[in-house]
């Protein structure tokens, strides 16, 4: 029983982690609080749904397609829409407010386009909805895929960020955006790359989630909210933080639902959130900011 609950919790947490990792890159490195993040996820879900229902294309192929599309889309959004804001903002605070307002508008643009194209109906299809037996617990294959993807992407990107020169540059920009150019780092380019990478991660998450979760054109904001909690809990800009915070949330929800009451899952999530922030104000893996 305990093992079953543990595995179910990890698998649920995998979804949360997968959704949150892109946002942590965008917010942590690019310093853009992207409120349209959830819409990017849903757009990818729609892509997978449309390809699968009208052209019978395997959602796994859509996954490979969606990642570069998400990358290019976010790259363009940053270049066209956010770069001018970054250029004109004098302080980090001003940029934060500007980016929140701008992406809040973007949220409605993307949502409106999706509403026009697909309408407001519930969309669901199922793919890979069979049980996989892990230590006696039957786990949905599509959810397991989300966990594996979260671990692989999270681990891979972590290695990339810590072991390569390129990653070191990204981290340098995250820590000290104004000093990074002094050592020859093209901060603008690094920030744009990180934002686009975040978009690619969101698109991956969207495709995987569409395999098992019902969505509508307007559910994006739910994902943004959840991702934001995970990001802040894990420490802004920290991939391993997002990964572990996501898994913790999944475990808490599942254990509370099993041993206490399913009605208290949300309360428990926010309690843990509060507890971690009291204990470590800048998140699990966050460095204290001056």
């Amino acid at each position: 029983m305990f093992v079953t609950t543990l595995i179910a919790g990890l698998v649920l947490g995998g979804t949360y982690a997968l959704v949150a990792m892109g946002l942590t890159l965008q917010y942590g490195i690019s310093r853009i609080m992207n409120l349209a993040y959830g819409e990017t996820i849903i757009a990818a879900s729609f892509l997978a749904y449309a390809l699968s229902s009208s052209f019978n294309i395997n959602p796994l192929i859509s996954l490979v397609l969606a990642a570069p599309l998400g990358f290019v889309f976010s790259y363009l959004i940053y270049g066209l829409m956010l770069r001018p804001l970054v250029a004109r903002s004098k302080t980090a605070m001003a940029l934060e407010i500007d980016s929140i307002l701008a992406t809040f508008g973007l949220l409605f643009v993307i949502q409106g386009v999706m509403l026009l194209m697909f309408g407001g109906n519930y969309i669901s299809y199922s793919y890979m909805n069979f049980g996989v037996d892990i230590f006696g617990a039957s786990v949905a294959a599509n959810r397991l895929l989300a966990l594996v993807l979260a671990l692989a992407l999270g681990g891979g990107l972590y290695l990339l960020l810590t072991r390569t020169l390129w990653g070191t540059a990204l981290r340098a920009v995250a820590v000290a955006p104004s000093s990074a150019p002094l050592v020859g780092i093209d901060a603008n380019r690094a920030v744009r790359l990180a934002f686009a990478l975040g978009g690619a991660l969101a698109a991956c998450g969207g495709v995987v989630i569409s395999m098992y979760q019902t969505f509508t054109a307007t559910t994006g904001v739910v994902f943004t909210m959840k991702a934001l909690i995970v990001v802040i809990m894990g420490g802004v800009g920290n991939l391993l933080g997002a990964l572990s915070a996501g898994l913790i949330l999944g475990l808490v929800e599942t254990f509370v639902a099993t041993y206490v009451s399913p009605g208290l899952t949300l309360a428990a999530v926010y309690l843990i959130f509060l507890g971690i922030l009291l204990w470590r104000p800048s998140g699990l893996f966050g460095k204290a900011r001056r």
């Binding site: 179910a8 407001g120 019902t214 509508t216 599942t254």
Partner: protein, 409 residues
């Protein structure tokens, strides 16, 4: 002196304004009417859009098109007037639905207002409909308090029954199955902690108790829950072979998928809103077989079958198998009442309340401003969501129990 004169001037001005307004009103009445204005406020965006987009909006669109194709709304004496439709989106916000409904009544001065989607939204606008004297044909609202509402708001009509009706019908089916030895009479029950789930589970507890059924697991979960694995595992443990979930569509879909993954095969599986969506049957194929829910249709009813075909031709999608047909019938009733009584809202409300109508449901008549001839329970059988309860109503199909086991894909 100047003061007084200004005051007087203002008085004169306001008085003349009032007079002008009244004359304008008179002249509007005296003027020959060229159209009938119909307005409605419905959730086109936001969390309610999924429900409104299947049960309400397509039927309003279909009806408006049919009236237009017929050359307009027929009035007493056979004259036809074209309809002018004014539509607002309430963005799934209760404040917005009230504001926009008020606008329809006071600014657009529409002749009739069609009801919004959802129990809460219909309750939110009911005082407004009452104050401005519009009949309210509330279809997508499930409430046990309808008899009280009818007394409070005389022109309100409640057409989808109350939670109690549905749970009594379910208890009836279960009691029969228990007596036949098909099920052991133990029930595991989960419900969403939101309007629909709370109403239904509150009605279900006494219904099951009265029927001598034993509820072994009874929990609520917050709306928006996506992972039901823990609840399914717990429900399976208690020895219950009946699983009931009063859920919203995204959860209904998720429970169906996750029960398959967990190889959870109760003998009776009863799920909430969304089970009666055509897409449910399409997505789940043979695995939808035997699953029960609220609503259902009589597959042998020809008027209903013809309606379903028209709905699909005009809106491009099939109607759901619970509230859609009732929504359409409510519009037919309104249309017929206008044909009999004209644009006089008072007379139309009276006619709706006392008259008898031919609709896609057959001969339809309100009882105490409520529609009571309804299907309270249905089951997927051979790719159709057929009505199984109330069992004594003509046209009811016999339930197939136990539910067949999940098929591997």
């Amino acid at each position: 002196m100047t003061n007084t004169s200004r005051r007087r001037a203002l008085k004169t001005l306001s008085l003349s304004a009032i007079l002008l307004c009244t004359t304008a009103g008179f002249s509007a009445i005296a003027q020959e009417r060229t159209s009938v204005k119909i307005g409605y406020v419905v959730s086109k965006t936001g969390p309610n859009a999924g429900g409104a987009g299947i049960t309400t909006i397509p039927n309003y669109v279909l009806w408006a098109k049919e009236v237009k194709d017929a050359g307009g709304l027929e009035l007493p004496g056979g004259k036809r007037l074209p309809i002018e439709v004014i539509e607002y989106d309430d963005r799934s916000s209760a404040e917005e639905v009230v504001r926009a409904t008020e606008r329809l009544a006071t600014q657009d001065k529409v002749d009739f207002i069609l009801a919004p989607w959802g129990t809460g939204f219909n309750l939110a606008v009911a005082p407004l409909f009452d104050r401005f004297g519009y009949p309210q044909l509330a279809v997508s609202a499930v409430t046990d308090k309808a008899p009280q509402f009818v007394k409070r708001w005389k022109k309100s009509f409640w057409m989808l029954g109350g939670g109690h009706d549905y749970t009594e019908a379910l208890a009836g089916v279960l009691t029969k199955a228990k007596a036949a030895g098909t099920i052991n009479g133990k029930i595991a029950m989960i419900s969403v902690a939101d309007g629909f789930g709370i109403d239904l589970v509150t009605a279900a507890r006494p219904s099951f108790k009265k029927a001598g059924l034993d509820v072994t697991y009874d929990v609520t979960y917050p709306a928006g829950t996506t992972d039901f694995t823990p609840m399914i595992n717990e429900a399976a443990k208690g020895g219950a072979d009946t699983f009931v979930a009063f859920s919203y569509p995204p959860e209904t879909f998720a429970i169906t998928q996750q029960a398959q993954v967990a190889k959870f095969n109760p003998k009776v599986m009863y799920l909430g809103v969304g089970t009666g969506f055509p897409v449910y049957g399409k997505n789940n194929g043979p695995n939808a077989e035997g699953i029960m829910s609220l609503g259902g249709i009589d597959p042998k009813n020809e008027a209903n079958a013809a309606y379903r075909k028209r709905h699909e031709d005009v809106t491009g999608k099939a109607p759901d198998l619970w509230g859609s047909v009732i929504t359409y019938a409510s519009l037919q009733m309104l249309q017929e009442a206008i044909k009999r009584k004209g644009i006089d809202r008072e007379a139309v409300s009276n006619e709706l309340s006392t008259g008898s109508f031919k609709t896609v449901l057959g001969d339809t008549k309100m009882e105490d401003n409520q529609l009571r001839t309804l299907w309270f329970g249905g089951q997927w059988q051979n790719g159709q969501f057929v009505a199984i309860a109330p069992v004594d109503r003509p046209g009811a199909t016999k339930p197939v129990l136990p539910k067949p086991a999940w098929q591997a894909k």
